[in-house]
Symmetry: D2
Subunit: 353 residues, 4 copies
Amino acid sequence: MTAATACGRLEPRAGGKPQHQQENGMIEFALFGAGRIGKIHAANLARHPGAKLKYVVDRHAPSAEALAHAHGAQVADVERALGDPAITAVVIASSTDTHADLIVAAANAGKAVFCEKPVDLTVERSRVCADVVRRSGVTCMIGFQRRFDPTFAALKARVERGEIGAPEMLVVTSRDPGAPPVDYIRSSGGIFKDMLIHDFDVFRWILGDEAQTLHATGSCLTDPAVHDAGDIDSTAVTIRTRRGLLCQINTSRRAAYGYDQRFELLGSHGMLQAGNVRPTEVSAWLAAGIATDVPEPFFLERYRHAYAAEIAHFVDALRDGTPVRTTIDDGLAALELAEAAMTSWKTGRVIEL
Amino acid sequence: MTAATACGRLEPRAGGKPQHQQENGMIEFALFGAGRIGKIHAANLARHPGAKLKYVVDRHAPSAEALAHAHGAQVADVERALGDPAITAVVIASSTDTHADLIVAAANAGKAVFCEKPVDLTVERSRVCADVVRRSGVTCMIGFQRRFDPTFAALKARVERGEIGAPEMLVVTSRDPGAPPVDYIRSSGGIFKDMLIHDFDVFRWILGDEAQTLHATGSCLTDPAVHDAGDIDSTAVTIRTRRGLLCQINTSRRAAYGYDQRFELLGSHGMLQAGNVRPTEVSAWLAAGIATDVPEPFFLERYRHAYAAEIAHFVDALRDGTPVRTTIDDGLAALELAEAAMTSWKTGRVIEL
Amino acid sequence: MTAATACGRLEPRAGGKPQHQQENGMIEFALFGAGRIGKIHAANLARHPGAKLKYVVDRHAPSAEALAHAHGAQVADVERALGDPAITAVVIASSTDTHADLIVAAANAGKAVFCEKPVDLTVERSRVCADVVRRSGVTCMIGFQRRFDPTFAALKARVERGEIGAPEMLVVTSRDPGAPPVDYIRSSGGIFKDMLIHDFDVFRWILGDEAQTLHATGSCLTDPAVHDAGDIDSTAVTIRTRRGLLCQINTSRRAAYGYDQRFELLGSHGMLQAGNVRPTEVSAWLAAGIATDVPEPFFLERYRHAYAAEIAHFVDALRDGTPVRTTIDDGLAALELAEAAMTSWKTGRVIEL
Amino acid sequence: MTAATACGRLEPRAGGKPQHQQENGMIEFALFGAGRIGKIHAANLARHPGAKLKYVVDRHAPSAEALAHAHGAQVADVERALGDPAITAVVIASSTDTHADLIVAAANAGKAVFCEKPVDLTVERSRVCADVVRRSGVTCMIGFQRRFDPTFAALKARVERGEIGAPEMLVVTSRDPGAPPVDYIRSSGGIFKDMLIHDFDVFRWILGDEAQTLHATGSCLTDPAVHDAGDIDSTAVTIRTRRGLLCQINTSRRAAYGYDQRFELLGSHGMLQAGNVRPTEVSAWLAAGIATDVPEPFFLERYRHAYAAEIAHFVDALRDGTPVRTTIDDGLAALELAEAAMTSWKTGRVIEL
């Protein structure tokens, strides 16, 4: 099944709001993808009192079996998982190129969908998916876990309480501890779609406004192999919103000191800063300086609580019939910004949105 | 059953090392006490893949039932719990006055014991307990959870790696966010046995040395009711060890800004500081100042990870037959310091140990 | 004397290197401008053992008299000051529109020149000035005091020692505590020439590279009066250098929490951050948060040490015949970036330099 | 002249309040002691617009000459300096054993006195001095410069404004970067009189209360030579005041990371902390940790602003006829605490005051 055929064959299922809860009050899940992030979601589902992981689906049988075994689930293929009426929802944590097909198939089967970002590497297919989801009426949440990070979420809540008055300027620092293998980079869709897509979502979420103009530039500074793969590893993006608010994003694939995830929002009455999370609160006072821990090493550690919170939010939303906070439209909007950034970088021009 | 009779009847069970593991690899537990801290231990046992909570025991039936229900356990009384050969270990989280009896009874029944601090409010009964435990050969761990706090444990590991050379002086700041009800204070054994017992354990653990002299003073500064209950709420303790190392502990029942748990260790080559843990890493830059979060509100939040880690350590030690890190002798030693501090405070004299 | 005539009449004085020192070892100065910044320079000259302030020149006689009196100097007009052969050097701290004329006149008179930024509001006249200075052979230093700030200078020295490897990305945060009067804004040349000119100099200094492309955008967010004056108060600038290094600058005329002057430089082996300076190291731990001081209120306080250090550097350079660190060419280069930023903002286009 | 004879011959000069100001408005000073701290005071006097350094007195002629030359002063001996009616005030920065004699001689000569701590190494002679000063009616200020440190002074002001409610507990950390030469230690009066005397003054100043009981202990941990000199290098002091407030002081002669001068005051509504001052605000984010500068290296740097402020305060007090903030009674009170601490340490007993 390809996305094209899936989308082409789309027949939104009849009937109204999907029934999301089994009689025993547990929502049963199928998980697609038993890799690094799939394991995180499986463990968080296992810990949630209202969720039950029933199926694990992965082309790589040993991975599927190991993960299913660890959580008392069964190994299945896509058809069986989507064909089981006991399954209320799916979590899509497989490789990016499978997202669109699986979203469409799950929506067609009337399953609620939690899908890792991005929806797809192309805006076009993402739009088709969004359309299928809309017409099917299923709940579809995109895994922008940063919105569920305790620090980022607390900042957002304080902005909304008016603590710093009207937002004016957002500065986002987003740096990975080191570039992924070049093979990954080649199929990643490029730094804007792979890495900055999260930052674009943070921008939209925190400022609560949409981009009017966008400028992006960048360089390959860490490894010529990244350049050879047609990508860059360091970017500088500026967005001006419809209301004239400003946003600057700086990213790098390599921060020698670890995973650096900060932002600060200047408002009319002050500023709120979201800092990194450290493994411990030890500081060493030595002749060479007074040193604290570097940030958590990478996203699995930094966003550990965020991953748990986003799944809990998804389960709760299904249980309560309330909307999810990060929709497929958010996924589409972030992707459009990534596309614009790529164009700006390649053409050297400012993009009007 | 009183401790006296329990201790008097003591007949350490025959046979060698207790068998700690069921055939399915799960260690089965009985929990005594379904209160605030009992709930924490129950949840951590439930989360541990090698442990199974079988019984919950509490005089207050509704509490026992609710907690048992939440974790698929059964309500039982002491006799049934200790009489079940499937039970390998007990967790004692009931009120302080029941600790000694339960330790003795469990040891007599050949159960491994995890017991909240203190062993008892008197040194005498604590010694009897320690003796029973020793002769029975059961594993007995005392819940000095601070040793399992990620920040404190990291500091200790770095000291042991020699990062600051030879330890010289420890300064411990230990402040509660507010005094407990006076009724609690009356039966608590006083601030030294109730609150500083943890700090005395930290002192012994971090400096790796024993007290030679101890001086304690204090005042009632927060609430006259504390004074009327025969206690104080603010203390200043100084210990000099056998090797001449110094330790100062300052405590208060009330820190308006929250639960303040810090210490710093000066060594010949530098200093290591253990700071508070904050709920988030947001800072607010306002005209009035640049403010970060206050510390986690109280011990349940601050030591959340520590509680999980200590139970995991206990389960692992039982599984592997390895020693536990906080023994009943540690409990006894901390209590002796608390007793000495109380005497120093009351007499205004320096105590030789 | 207008700049046009001054420039037109330019006859670089014959002879070689100016003689910079009187027989008693003191370098004698004339100061143009007895305002806020003139007073700073006067006090720093007075404190320097190798400098003597002989003349104060200001159209506003009471200001000139008061300042001259405070430092044992004499009031003079431009002609007398420049005509006195005892005068080796001048400090130009008068209004921006007088800078070019005074530089030219002083250079023609063979006096060494220290001039506040900017050289002039137009690149054209600045170039003429630079040309006059070059041909006259006099020393001419532009007051980019940030290069002399202890924190910034320490960071620069550590970069040069290789502490973070090869520089890659500079992020500059530069925010005033509040907008100046609109009258000032009207004659200021706009935010890019008035405020960001310092940030452009920091960019050139810290990265040690020149801009290849520049993008600037901005908004008027704090006060419509700024917009009515044809200016903006919030800007976001991105520069990519010839070697592909990246720089982002964010500025605002209003930070409710004070004068915010920070930057951070990411390199291949780590990052160096230059933070704000606080009046005191008091922190308040209150129920509402743990708060430190806001930054020094404005540039006079924040750059107090920098102002002293730049004048000392100028005096030392004259005494030793060594080059100054911030030349008129630096002033010209920063102005060209400001001009490019203004064009980028107005046209919405990326500028090639 | 010995203190004994000086004190014995004491005849407080006739007449009322000393005339503190010359006709030209300048207060003329004699400085005793041209060493490290004498140079600081000389430079600060030179910078003060209301003060003039007329004489420098030092047994070591080259030192006196060099310092006098640097500030346009004259070299003199004690008699000439005290005999000159133009001299209004003296600054005593000579070795500790000369303080008492010089205070008495200056008071007898009707000169206002600024004297470095301590008044004398014995309480007895200090009392005689205080008596002479009192009867002579001259102003006498003791150089407890910490009260003039911007951070400490700001904290004190905020306590007085009620920011943290009623003070309850003070924790003082006071560590030198390294022990002085053993020769110095031998004649220093011991760590309590030499080093902690400042901390005892901070205690009295910040808590605004007097000691009721004091306990001190300590060890020699850094260098056996200190022990051989009869001293210790690490101390732990606890004071309980008349109102029941608590104070703990921990000190060491050696902090490998520099001069560590902090204190924190817990009050009923929160805490105020006074932190160290750093040379710069650079932080380095490296793989090994995120490091800031260590504190200023030693007291000359840390208290640079405090030294200037205390002399300015002295000059202003003389000019305005207002009282000084650190009197000889403060010097005496701090010395009495040092004496008590020494006794407590030597006897192992708690001292009642």
